[in-house]
Symmetry: C2
Subunit: 196 residues, 2 copies
DNA sequence: TCTAAATTTGGTCGTTCGTTCAAGGCGATC
DNA sequence: GATCGCCTTGAACGAACGACCAAATTTAGA
C-alpha cells in the first residue's frame, strides 16, 4: 500500500476519478462540485486542482477511459461471439447488467450530453462511438449480414443508449425488447436484393 | 398586446418557460440559473419565484407540456399515417427536423436525465413515453404487424432518443438508418410463426 | 375616484461555487 | 543528514448561486 510519493499521488488521482464517475451518475455532470468529489474520494479539496487542471478536466479524464474500456470490451466480445445469437446475448447482457444501479443507467447519457458541449471531449467520444459501431457492423458482416450492416449498427448503438435512457425513467421498459427485434431482423436474410 | 394584469402575467410566465427550454438545451438542466432564464426572457430575476415555486419547478413546468405536446403530435400523425411507409416517413422526418439546431438535439436527453432524478417529473415523463410507445404499437398493429408490436415499439422509441443523443455528439450519424432498418423489419411479415 | 388585488422590480440574505495559494510533510538521492 | 521534488492540506478569494421580500406599479371593480 505504501510506496513512494508518486504511487500515493496515483492512488488519490484514481480515487478522484472513481468518485467523479459515481457522482456524475448520481447528481449529473453539471452538478458535480469540487468539494463533492473530494469528500467522496476522501481527500482534501485542494487535491482536485493539483491532479487535474480543472473540474471539467477531471470529469473528462475520468469518463473517457471508462467509455473507451467499454468499447474495447465490446470489440473483443463481439469478435469472439459465436454467430448471431452469441452477439445478441452479449448486447442483452450488457443492457441488463446496468440495470442493477439506476445511477449507472444515467451515466452514459450524462457523458454524451457533456461531450456534445465540449469540442475536445466530443471528438473523443464520437471516435469511441464510431469504434463501437464498427465492431457491431463487423460482427454482422461476419455473420453474413453484409447488405445493410452499417445502418443496423447505427440503430443497435442508438437503441442501447436509448434503452438505458428510457429505463432510467421507467424501469418497466423491457430490456429484452431489443434482443427480440434483433432476432427477427437478423434471422431474415439480409444478403439478397431486398432494397427498394 | 396590452391586456389586463393577468394577461401580462401569463406573458412573462410563458416567456420564462420559453427561455428555460432554450437554456436547458444550450447549457444543460443542472446549469440553468435563475438569473440566466430571467435575462433570456427579458424579465427581472424576482419574476422567476413569483410565477414558479422554484427554479426546478420552472424547468419541470416548461418541459412537461413540451414533451406531452410532442407525444400528442406523434399520436395524431401515426393515427393518420397511411400504411407502414407513412409512419416511417413521419418518424424519419421528426428526427431530421431536430437536426437543425444542436441544442434541440440535446433537449430530450436532458429532460429524461432530469426526470430520472425526480419522483414527480419522472412519473409524468414515463407516462408520456408510454403513450408514445402505445401510439407506435397501435400503428404497427393497424398495419398488420401484430405479433411483436410492443417490442418493436420499445425499440423504435429507444432508437429515436438514442439517435438524437448520438447525433448530438457526431453529426455524421445517419438519421435515415432507422428508416432503412424499419423498412427491412416491417416489410418482413410479422404476423406469422417467425419465432424461435 | 378610490380601493383591493395582482404583478413588477431590484436589492439582499446566507450559501456554495471553482480556483488559488502558502505552508507542511515525506521519501528518495547525493 | 541535508537537500530536493512531489504530494498534501485547508484556508482564503471573488463570483455566482437560489430564494426571499418590501416597495413600487398597474389593473379591475366599486
Amino acid at each position: 500500500m505504501a510506496e513512494g510519493a508518486a504511487a500515493r499521488g496515483a492512488a488519490t488521482r484514481e480515487a478522484l476519478m472513481r468518485a467523479a464517475i459515481e457522482l456524475i451518475g448520481e447528481v449529473g455532470w453539471g452538478s458535480v462540485s469540487t468539494r463533492m468529489v473530494a469528500e467522496r474520494a476522501g481527500v482534501p479539496t485542494g487535491s482536485v486542482h493539483y491532479h487535474f487542471r480543472s473540474l471539467d478536466g477531471l470529469l473528462a479524464d475520468a469518463t473517457l477511459p471508462l467509455l473507451n474500456g467499454l468499447v474495447a470490451e465490446a470489440e473483443s466480445a463481439l469478435d469472439a461471439a459465436e454467430g448471431i445469437d452469441g452477439g445478441i446475448d452479449w448486447i442483452t447482457g450488457m443492457i441488463s447488467h446496468y440495470t442493477a444501479d439506476a445511477s449507472e443507467l444515467r451515466l452514459s447519457g450524462e457523458i454524451f450530453l457533456a461531450a456534445a458541449r465540449s469540442e475536445r471531449l466530443g471528438a473523443e467520444i464520437a471516435a469511441a462511438l464510431a469504434r463501437f459501431r464498427r465492431a457491431v457492423a463487423a460482427w454482422l458482416t461476419r455473420c453474413g449480414r453484409d447488405r445493410d450492416a452499417e445502418a443496423v449498427a447505427v440503430v443497435i448503438a442508438a437503441s442501447v443508449d436509448g434503452l438505458m435512457l428510457h429505463r432510467a425513467v421507467d424501469a418497466s421498459v423491457d430490456p429484452n425488447a431489443l434482443a427480440d427485434v434483433l432476432r427477427t431482423i437478423l434471422k431474415t436474410d439480409g444478403t439478397r436484393r431486398n432494397a427498394k
